[in-house]
Structures are given as structure tokens and as C-alpha cells.
Symmetry: C2
Subunit: 164 residues, 2 copies
Amino acid sequence: MDFEHADALNQAIRLLSLRHRARAASLLAPLGLHTGQEALLLQLDRTGPMIQAQLSEALGCEPPSVTLMTRKLEAGGHIRRTPAPSDKRASIVELTDSGKALADQVKQLWCALAEETVGGLPAETVAELPGILKTLTDNVDTRRPTTQAALARSSAVRSPSKAS
Amino acid sequence: MDFEHADALNQAIRLLSLRHRARAASLLAPLGLHTGQEALLLQLDRTGPMIQAQLSEALGCEPPSVTLMTRKLEAGGHIRRTPAPSDKRASIVELTDSGKALADQVKQLWCALAEETVGGLPAETVAELPGILKTLTDNVDTRRPTTQAALARSSAVRSPSKAS
DNA sequence: ACACATTGGTTATGCACATAACTATTATGC
DNA sequence: GCATAATAGTTATGTGCATAACCAATGTGT
């Protein structure tokens, strides 16, 4: 791939990151949330109580980041951290009632943001977009085991003619 | 759009941002660069000397960010800042020889990263990816005038005009 | 039983990003 | 001319993210 195309792609990803994050920030600010915190709330809403190590894995960020984010959300009264009875090292993180209510509000915003984001794109493209983005993510993911495994068990990607 | 799809999309964008940035960081680290700095070097390489306000616009980040990044790159000897003769407020930023050499190395990495990123995707998808990502970006861009332009060229992949 | 690696979590520190408040210069009103 | 707005840049501060170093609890070998 020549530099022109490579640059166009890398720059497009970089700018999308910046702008999508900025837009999310402006939507979340009225709720008193910063970007990243919404992901934690939504994760707990999806799966119920988790320990921080699981959150770190699910959110795709490192344990120290989870420590700080949970601390702030706890200070805001949106989550609760209780020591795990079976493992004294771990602390169980769960949503408070306030956190659940907040998560519901975030869900609303999230739908609006998604619609705004894909505005003007054909439905067909919108449908395959999450799968494409996931492929890109797995391709550059240094946290997960290998890229091949991800492709193999990914139901959203429909191009199995790849086995280099 | 229901929450399931919205969440899949927003989360995909969030994770792509994190992983692509992390991968870029691991590639740039050997050069002594942090992510974001490479964008500044490439921009100067593309367009020649610029003042910081222009860099801020081109990079899509705010003036204070440019101040800090230029300061660090200047400390590293990769760029030079000279006061503009015509406007005593502005300072002209340009690549040093060291910076030019570094930009060339970044270009190599950038090609490798782009290829790695789109691995396993059909060429057709790869071709229209930059255009799609740009549309997404424009849709959520709060810096630029409006999102009307994005709607107009909904299916357009190539964007010859810089839309400045 | 006990040394040792592994795991869960925190603290310290650094970077890119943001906004808000500020200075210094330039442009524009009258 | 001179007051005022607009612009270029910096400083202060706060956030999410990262890595490195560290502590405490749990597992595992022999």
C-alpha cells in the first residue's frame, strides 16, 4: 500500500476517534459524565456486577484506568464497590439505583449518537459497519491472543476466504 | 435505531480508537514519539511550514494541545519555531533535518500499520473505507460548520476537495 | 509446609486531549 | 487617534488513557 492511501486511512481513524469522542463528551456532559465512564456504566448494565479485572478486560483498558474511573463513579454515587467474599483481593463493582437510572439515560443518548454518526450512509453500509470496525480493531489488537482466532469465531464478518 | 445496534456501533468506534492508538504507540515508541506527534510531523511534511493556528485546524485538536506537542517536538530537535516576521503573535513551525528524517520513518510505519489494519478485508471494502470514515467523522464534527456536506455526497468515496 | 509465581488492585508518573482564563498583537470601529 | 473586537499563543487544570513499581491475597510446585 502506498503512503497516500495508508495516510488517508490512518488519519481518518485518528480524526474519527477525536471527533466521535468529542461529540460523545458534549452529549455526556449534561449528565455529569466524561467519555469512558459511560462504557463502564453500560457494561455493568449489560452483565451485572463484575470485578475490576473483568471490567478492565471488557472495556479494553488497563487496570489503573479502571481504578480511577470506578473511584470517580463511586464518588458520584453511581456505582458501589464491595469486597468479594470469596477472594479478598477482588472488589465487586455494581450499579446503584442512581447508576441504573443514569445508564438508561446514556442508552438514549447512545442511540441518538449512533444515528447521528451514520447519517447519510446507505443502510447496507450501516449494517456491515460494526463488523468491519471489529475486524479493524482485532487486526491491531495487541491485548488479545491472536487475530486469527478472532476472525474465526466472529459471526459478524463474512469473508472466511482468509488463512495466511 | 434500537440500542443493540447503536451500542454495537459506538462501542466498535470506541474500541477501534483505543486499539489503533495503542498499536500506533507501540510502533512509534522506538522512534521516541508519542501518538499525535506523528500527525504533526506528517502534516508539516505534507504542507511545509505552518503557524500553530493552522496546525490546530489541520490536526483537529485545540491550540493548547499544539502548544505542548510543539514544545516537546522542539525539545527533541525535530521541529523549529521561529517568530513570524509579518505577525508578531504567530510563530512559524517547520521540520528540522532530523524531523524530516523522522517523518520519512513514520511514513514507512504508517504504511505497515494501514496494511495491518485492513488485513482480511476485501479490496472493495478497503477502497471505500476512508470515505466512509470521513463521512462518520463529518457527521459528528462539532468544529466544522455543518454536516450538510456529508449528506450531499452520501455515496461518494473520493473527496478531491479539501473542504477547507 | 513453604518458597514462588500468579493474580487483583493501587499508587506514581507521563502523555494527548479538553476547557477556561490570561497576555500580546493585530484589525476594525468611530 | 483611540477604544474595542478578533486573533495567536500560553498557562492552569482536569480527564482518560498508558506503563512501571508496588502491596496483598491466592494458587502451585516440591
